[in-house]
Symmetry: C2
Subunit: 166 residues, 2 copies
């Protein structure tokens, strides 16, 4: 039995008390971009209820073309206007460099990824980088609020990242 099978058994329990369906567009008009880290239960961290906000996640909670794609669809087709970015302390992305990662992949499989791994050395700076990438995109045009935070995995608290002089 795999862990996947174990999770499917959990799903049967979940479905037994499920009430739905809810409407498709997020009722709070919010999109969250967060790290994929297992410790970040984004719905609990923000007190989100089902149906309230889009939740986009990836390694680091960074903003690449695919997050721009998701945000553009979220805003243009489903009416979100606020964006919340969440990075976190003790992030795996702080533990390596793009060069080392790509070299290790190339050494194993013989092919160097054409994409950036998006590792970073400073949490606040990478949150600001993500904010700037969204601001610079011509495709994310409906934003009324764009704020970035670092989640502390030791305390459960979100700390806001303030803009820095460049």
């Amino acid at each position: 039995m795999t862990v996947t099978d174990e999770f499917l058994a959990n799903n049967a329990e979940y479905a037994a008390s499920f009430t739905g369906p809810l409407p498709l567009p997020p009722s709070k008009h919010v999109a969250v971009v967060a790290c994929m880290d297992a410790r970040l239960d984004v719905y609990r961290i923000l007190g989100l209820r089902e149906g309230e906000a889009h939740v986009i996640r990836n390694a680091g909670g960074v903003v690449t073309d695919d997050e721009i794609r998701s945000l553009a669809i979220s805003q243009r087709l489903l009416g979100t206007t606020e964006i919340i970015l969440i990075h976190h302390t003790d992030c795996g992305m702080l533990t390596f460099t793009d060069d080392d990662f790509k070299r290790a992949v190339q050494d194993e499989v013989g092919i160097k990824p054409a994409w950036a791994a998006e590792a970073f050395g400073d949490l606040d700076e990478d949150v600001r980088q993500s904010i700037r990438r969204i601001e610079a995109s011509p495709f994310v045009t409906k934003t009324t609020s764009l704020r970035g935070f670092v989640f502390d995995v030791a305390t459960g608290k979100l700390g806001e990242v303030r803009p820095a002089a460049r």
Copy 2:
């Protein structure tokens, strides 16, 4: 007051009863790739507890270079081996075409996105497409289980997508 402020107030409540920190690597060695849809509380749907699985999410739950990046980091640096893909009924990605979306963006801002919107017309087929993209990637090499599901937003149940003859 924005909705973001409201969610930050929720976070203060969350932190008040928070116990941490947990270890960085996912304890169940699983990575989930799911749609960003607001109705998918992935932790509840799978009975996930904090710290157990990486959760990657985007518009559609599709697999592009950025999901390959996240999965490669998840497997190579943080030891996951099982992958669970989750699409869902009543998905926004079923309601438009890439051509229409790109035309609408171009008409508004004058620039046509260089990326695909990744809209799809058939849920099962797109889950299979996502599975094939992972199988075809040279960078996701540690997979011991790779299964795809459609979440029913009316019942809360996950239905497995079976492989189809091509």
